[in-house]
Symmetry: C2
Subunit: 419 residues, 2 copies
């Protein structure tokens, strides 16, 4: 099965807002073995929407569109779909009932504007929206099944999961001998992309199956393995390549698929039964916030301190004033004292500290913007590291946070092996 | 002038990676008065790339494509462009020279694979890549000007800014009486989208010029004003509408355009010469990290504490143990004590505290997941607020961080008016 994903909205097309829906939908469809062949982003223009829907129906079995279902006049997806289906819009009794239930739950009356959301192309059916007013639309356009979902992220997400995917699952091949395309991803941090590429050169040659490709983002190098064939055969091919890639790359592999660096760290903290505390300066809370991304981290994360000023490095972490005066806030002795200070005060098994110059200002010839010191403290002492990152302020901070978490991961791996 | 933006890469189409390039390019083109009419995301497939380039050349004056220019076999943009132009690929002497310079600067020899990057469709010209090996491509396809840039974010960004925009600027109308489309955005937080819509109903009617539309994201409601016409006229129309919208919405407006909530807060902190400290639990450092997004915040941000465990609420913030035992960590008395504790310890003028249940677990019938308590402390005392947010863990945390910053903003506004 082939799918086209359409994102509709003038705020997307003009770049006022980043579209994350197409990515989420493509992943979800891919996980069900449905191949996405194209994304397209369109303006709120009924004519353009109709043309794109028609073109998509020529090449795909499934079309998922988001946006343009609200009550305001700039919401034109209903009109575009009706035009593509060559049928008028008319109130759909079930959609009217959904709107009435929604309004009653909020103790408000339905205006004429609200009622626009119940206008459906003839033959289309409404999809329940559990979080907002606008029902989704399911329709048939030639041989393609069309799903239109609201653009509000929480509503889109809920309806994709609860309404669209279960309906598609019923249509997706489940016999193990049926052909499907699958991707498996091995995630790494700590080697440049060119070195990863050299170690995997023979797996990455053109024409090889499975296809192996790398993609770099903020220092993380993902190795994607693509295979096509009967279900069990594909799983076996992917497993063989994944195992070989992990063998060659060793400890720089931190996980597979959707695993984030913080998930890998949290799993090791749980395995070791260890606690951690964090002291941050330039990352300003990002390291701690990344750990808190993981539900259940409260058993292991004791405390984070963002000691952004020198005064707070002294007060909250016990860094010696003279050390700051002599070496500056971005220095080996200071990052060491930060890690020792937070580990001691929080009573944690491990502590991570980060201090650096995120830029754009603040750099000197000795310490250019992008210079970041890291320290990792455990019962055995403190280890320190220095890196000079390129890129803008956001890039330096994000990459520093991943680097700090990776240090903790490597240390926990050692701990696990020793224990 | 009209533009189409193409993003090329199997990792984009399958949702393995989020495409942020199209958004960046659309914004940059829009700022130069070039209207983006469509984005499309494509697989690394020469045939599909050729077809999309041909279709885009029918509807646009400018095509900007990213991705697929690297040396590996899955990079197919060169082949697609050659096919669309109906001309063979051949080594381009200037591109060869660029590659040789790049290799020399890295003390490495050029492999046959590397040299693929110097193959150009006949008639195309190379664009200097200041950060990587793959030169960009500039070509003409019928009446459209085509720019192909690498997919690596830092390279794409540098080449868009240094190579593409200056060349387009030469083609963009600069006489003030020439027609152009412009967008101005008023950003708000604190009112639901429906209420913003009601207050602006007469400005949002279909067919009005300028066109006024709202877009919601994580509780922030953006009001976009779109106008077309001669340059000065457009600026005047946008200014009139922006002023009227701000008048009607009052203090919920926190800025315009690219202004983030943290930028608004930082500007007010600077204006008042005030300092702030932050105590966080469920947001886990996000409030502090958002403030640190703003360069120069070190003059105003003294300290942030992520007191994720009860023990650290006691130790690092001085919250009374009995208070925690009696009311629980997510409660009015505890959030109040957190704000008082951090303000006192850091010696700050203002303090913000957040404690809540981000979910998915941890909720009770009394305190469902999504329940978040906020406190704002200043010399006059402490004010507390409670909200119950819907959505997943990431959504609750992100929205809570914006809510906390907004409380600080409103308090600083009062301060500014009183002072």
């Amino acid at each position: 099965m082939r799918a086209v994903v359409l994102s509709i909205g003038s705020e997307l097309i003009s770049g006022l807002r980043l579209d994350t829906h197409a990515t989420e939908i493509a992943r979800a469809l891919g996980a069900q073995g449905i191949e996405v062949v194209r994304h397209e982003t369109l303006d709120d223009d009924a004519q353009a929407i109709a043309e794109s829907l028609r073109a998509a129906a020529e090449e795909a079995d499934v079309i998922v569109a988001t946006g343009g279902l609200g009550p305001t006049p700039d919401d034109r997806t209903r009109d575009g779909l009706a035009e593509a289906m060559d049928t008028p819009l008319e109130p759909h009794p079930e959609a009217v009932a959904m709107l009435e239930t929604w309004a009653a739950s909020r103790h408000r009356a339905l205006s004429e504007t609200d009622m626009r959301q119940a206008l459906f192309p003839h033959g289309a059916e409404p999809l329940q929206n559990p979080l907002g007013s606008a029902p989704g639309i399911r329709a048939r356009l030639n041989t393609a099944e069309v799903f239109c979902l609201p653009g509000v992220p929480t509503e889109m997400h809920a309806m994709l999961t609860e309404q669209v995917l279960p309906r598609l699952r019923a249509r997706t091949p489940t016999r193990p001998d049926e052909c499907r395309g699958r991707v498996r991803t091995v995630r790494t941090f700590g080697l440049p992309e060119s070195v990863v590429g050299e170690r995997l050169a023979d797996l990455m040659v053109l024409g090889r199956h499975p296809r192996v490709a790398t993609a770099a983002h903020m220092g993380t190098i993902d190795v994607h393995i693509h295979a096509t064939g009967p279900g069990e055969e594909v799983d076996r091919l992917l497993a063989t390549d994944a195992a070989e890639i992990k063998r060659r790359l060793g400890q720089v592999v931190f996980g597979e698929g959707e695993t984030r660096m913080e998930d890998a760290v949290a799993a090791l903290l749980a395995k070791c039964g260890a606690t951690v505390a964090v002291a941050e300066s330039c990352t300003g809370g990002l390291v701690t916030a990344r750990l808190v991304n993981v539900p259940g981290i409260s058993d292991h994360l004791l405390e984070g301190v963002v000691a952004y000023s020198n005064a707070s490095k002294v007060r909250a972490l016990g860094v010696d004033k003279d050390l700051l005066a002599e070496h500056g806030a971005v220095s080996e002795p200071v990052v060491r004292a930060m890690a020792e200070g937070i580990r001691d005060r929080a009573g944690a098994d491990f502590a991570v500290a980060v201090t650096g110059i995120a830029g754009p200002g603040g750099g000197t010839p000795d310490k250019p913007a992008g210079t970041v010191w890291f320290a990792l403290a455990d019962a055995g002492g403190v280890r320190t590291f220095c890196e000079v990152f390129s890129g803008d302020r956001a890039h330096v901070r994000e990459r520093s946070a991943t680097y700090a978490l990776n240090l903790l991961r490597l240390c926990l791996l050692e701990e696990g092996e020793a224990g």
